[in-house]
Symmetry: C2
Subunit: 235 residues, 2 copies
DNA sequence: ACAGGCGAAACTTTATACAATCTTCGCCCG
DNA sequence: CGGGCGAAGATTGTATAAAGTTTCGCCTGT
């Protein structure tokens, strides 16, 4: 019967327009097409997506709540610029949550999920061979989200989505050398451990993976943000 | 100079009107004055706070993102009614995060914070003696938030605020017997451990505290929601 | 030439009006 | 008398317009 009118409350690819805006802007930020500090004018975005400012505003407010956009009163919305302190908090939280998520994911493992993971690893490898940095960045984050979805834990998934989005900005701002793909092999190792249902090993690998990513960051004084940003923009 | 015009971006008690609406509704939900499933009409709330629907809508969207309000398309906003599965997820997440938060709080301990904690315990005791159930519920949640603020970890604090708000709804829906204050002594014990900077003990006490709260819940089939709600309303 | 202030333009914020959708109540038919 | 159809009422979704704030350029005075 009325199965089409009442769609589930938080449809993943919700076809309404505000979700399309939100996901478009999110993708642009996660792929490093929009740099930290960039002004996100309401008219500007509205014209791109053919939507009214009302809808754009809604989307921007959601992004602000997720921590990847800052809204300054009477000034507008800007792509967030996490401080080194923020960065340390984000990675501490990820080190706490993600090993647990892997653990739960192994509980929920199934052939279909293993296929999905294998397929994702293939995509990551392909993007890296292609030298497509944007796709690599996006897929790297999506791997972690995939594991969280696999765990079937909605709250962990929500938290992790936030942490991943912020991590993307942090990596852009503070990565030391431009090691293009730090941990493709790491992901493969984690999947292997999941296949073997080896919780201890999977959790340990996830932890060391996160540690290695953070170790490649240069988290010093906040004033260095400007320099770093100029560097990225010049390249 | 212009110190009043540009206040910090995420002021805790932001005096703008949308925050006042959000906090008012949140307080009403946390104090169990608004029951799960209650319709939150935009005009209705707008008239109470003397605000336009635009502002009310913004506040409701924020509450929806925090998980304590559900917005159904073309139907309106309702106080969320967590399922037993949601409840288990919330408490699993709290068991993971809160011991870590206590740990970090002990790192940041100071005489001022210890005063604040002691003062809070006194308030809790007083409310309980008074038999003020509403204040008890609110203060019980605020204790956990206080520890999170003490930890100085903004992300953990944000996550925990969400979890506490949801917990309040869960306890209302699924508590077995009306044990008025399950864990006032627990809170005191945790504070004592914090005073002694005994991380292991503080974390363990927090964990058992959460376990005991969850143990008092009756998490069976989702269909029982209706009965439970009717029970509460009748009382 | 330079500092300070005035003013206009652009943008965000808030309110209001319009359109679309759902709910409810009444009526009619079986 | 019960069930279903339909129209009126109410409520939400969206767009547009009015109001307030910030910012930038320009002009004047020293």
């Amino acid at each position: 019967m009325a199965a089409k009118t009442r769609q589930k409350p938080d449809a993943p690819d919700a076809s309404d327009r505000v979700s399309r805006i939100r996901e478009g802007v999110t993708a642009a930020i996660l792929e490093h097409r929009l740099l930290p500090g960039t002004k996100l004018g309401e008219d500007e975005i509205g014209e791109i997506y053919g939507a009214s400012r009302t809808l754009v505003r809604t989307a921007l407010q959601q992004l602000a709540h997720e921590g990847i956009v800052n809204i300054e009163k009477n000034r507008g919305a800007f792509v967030a610029r996490p401080t080194p302190a923020d960065a340390r908090e984000v990675f501490e939280a990820r080190r706490l949550i993600e090993p647990t998520i892997v653990d739960r994911a192994i509980d929920a493992v199934s052939p279909a999920w293993l296929d999905r993971l294998g397929q994702h690893l293939a995509e990551e490898r392909e993007a890296e061979l292609r030298g497509d940095a944007r796709a690599s960045v996006r897929l790297s984050g999506e791997f972690h989200r995939l594991v969280a979805e696999m765990s079937g834990h909605g709250i962990y998934l929500g938290f992790l989505k936030e942490l991943i989005a912020r991590s993307s900005l942090i990596i852009l701002l503070y990565r030391r050398h431009d090691t293009p793909a730090c941990g493709t092999d790491h992901h493969a190792g984690i999947v292997a451990a999941i296949r073997k249902r080896d919780k201890a090993r999977a959790g340990a690998l996830m932890l060391s993976h996160l540690n290695e990513i953070e170790a490649e960051l240069f988290l010093k004084d906040p004033a260095a943000d400007e320099l770093r940003l100029a560097d990225v923009l010049g390249a």
